[in-house]
């Protein structure tokens, strides 16, 4: 799958409380959560971003709470992919489980600037910076995770298993 979008860039340790504050967690409706995506980090994010845009961030993206509402809010807001140096482990699992594309690449994070246009080939883990005419390679996923991603997330992966067994 190929994605293309403009870049919004953030720093290290973006936590799940700023991605979706707990004051909005009395619902799990993705459309409602999307309205408040990144609100306490960048209050104008949902107004200025366009569907398909890509978040690029530093270390430990998504640290803190286990709330799946965080990747759900980002996905429902229309963000197509997150590229970071590293992800907090629960956020990492959650993103793969719900089918939100994430990639780890220090090269990409250090070279990409806010506003750059980039394209991402998820199958190859290849990131192209269309504004700067550069290419970066993301760390490959372990085989099992590639299967999960190819299925479209954990639930679809399990549905396939349930159907197969009968």
């Amino acid at each position: 799958m190929k994605l293309e979008g403009g870049v919004w860039k953030y720093g290290d340790d973006v936590d799940t409380d700023v991605i979706i504050p707990a004051r909005y967690l009395n619902t799990s409706d993705p459309a409602e959560l999307a309205k408040h995506c990144l609100e306490d980090l960048d209050s104008e994010f949902t107004e200025k971003m366009s569907p398909g845009d890509i978040i690029v961030a530093g270390d430990n993206f998504g640290c803190g709470s286990s709330r799946e509402h965080a990747p759900l809010a980002i996905k429902a807001a229309g963000v197509s992919c997150i590229i970071a140096n590293s992800f907090a482990r629960i956020f990492y699992r959650n993103s793969i489980n719900i089918g939100l594309p994430i990639l780890e690449s220090e090269d990409a994070v250090s070279s990409i600037s806010e506003g750059d246009k980039i394209s991402v080939d998820l199958d190859q883990g290849l990131i192209k910076n269309l504004s700067k005419d550069e290419e970066y390679q993301a760390r490959p996923f372990p085989e099992f995770m590639q299967e999960l991603i190819a299925s479209g997330g954990l639930i679809k992966y399990l549905q396939e298993k349930v159907n197969k067994n009968g």
């Binding site: 009395n26 709330r67 799946e68 590293s86 099992f144």
Partner: protein
Amino acid sequence: MGMTMVEKILAAHAGRESLEPGEIVNAKLDLVLGNDITTPVAIEEFEKIGVEKVFDKDKIALVPDHFTPNKDINSAGQTKSIREFAAEMEITNYFEIGEMGIEHCLLPEQGLVKPGQIIIGADSHTCTYGAFGALGTGVGSTDMAAGMATGEAWFKVPETMKFVFSGELQPWVSGKDLILHTIGDIGVDGALYRAMEFSGEVIDKLSMADRMTISNMAIEAGGKCGLIAPDEKTFKYLEGRVDDDYQVYKSDEDANCYDVIEYDVSKLEPQVAFPHSPENTRPISQVGQVPIDQVVIGSCTNGRLKDIREAAEVLKGKKKAPHVRLLIFPGTQEIYKQAMHEGLVEILIDAGAAVSTPTCGPCLGGHMGVLAAGEKAISTTNRNFVGRMGHPDSEVYLSNPAVAAASAITGKIVSPEEVV
């Protein structure tokens, strides 16, 4: 080559003799936990999988504790969906208001946590169970749904980082200070993807309450779990709560570790984590003048009887500063009852505290003590991110219960030594 504790636990649950860090294994689960924020999403995902029943109605724990007693109509709808799901699936360990507690205080008390188990919880502080030598780890709602359906989950075998504490603790220094000091040292991603293992003479002497506080905050350093090898204290806590059909795993001497970090904590002072990260720690002597509007004592980190006792010891015969709101949250009904029995609740109320029914409440800015713009709180909870306890322009300082209680008296952050 020997194996680490986490490798042994994962191997035993994956039907393997041995395994290596980095491998991905499918492991059997002993318990699957969810709360009122994460469970509604898990129920929706569970229903998509296509199975009729949960894998084992005795191995699921549902604890509505975050926004309960229901803070608004939407939250009431969320807990209603859990209540109905629990009834439909005949889930044994569903805890209603009046019988409940903050999940990570409640489950050990209820005998649902045993050494050697694997417990996944749709709550990041599930790592608390590491204090019992159990692999407790936080996951999201979809993993919880899959766990409820299949009784299994995938795990990447983590590398282990050992933390060895030596020395003699100073007065008013407790488990909270050891873990804040550790996070201050290694940073909020210092143990990312790894298992943390805590040991040494200091850990040996600590109460189970303090050990739970330490394991609880492993996630604040990015850790997958925060393990402490079971010992006589662990077994004593478990006596009468669980059958003795559990396995005790300890790391082998020659097991391969990513790192071993040793701390001599003889001179360690009480620690305070400044906004807006648990890694921004300072010793109490270097805090300076920080006036506060609110004090929160409780949570899955510090809501146990020992914590309430410590707060009461500091507050006994004293009054909070007039402008300060002092909020105390015993972790479970049992802790609340025991605190009443020991006369602690009366001491706290006489000091001007509001003593609440158990709830996560203000820890995550849910209810029961949300901060306005510009307000500052000192809190025994686990996170001080932007907006964590309310308005994005409010501030949270993290400390142990004695420091929080002392600060309530003076209206600014101080050491207990200044008031006792």
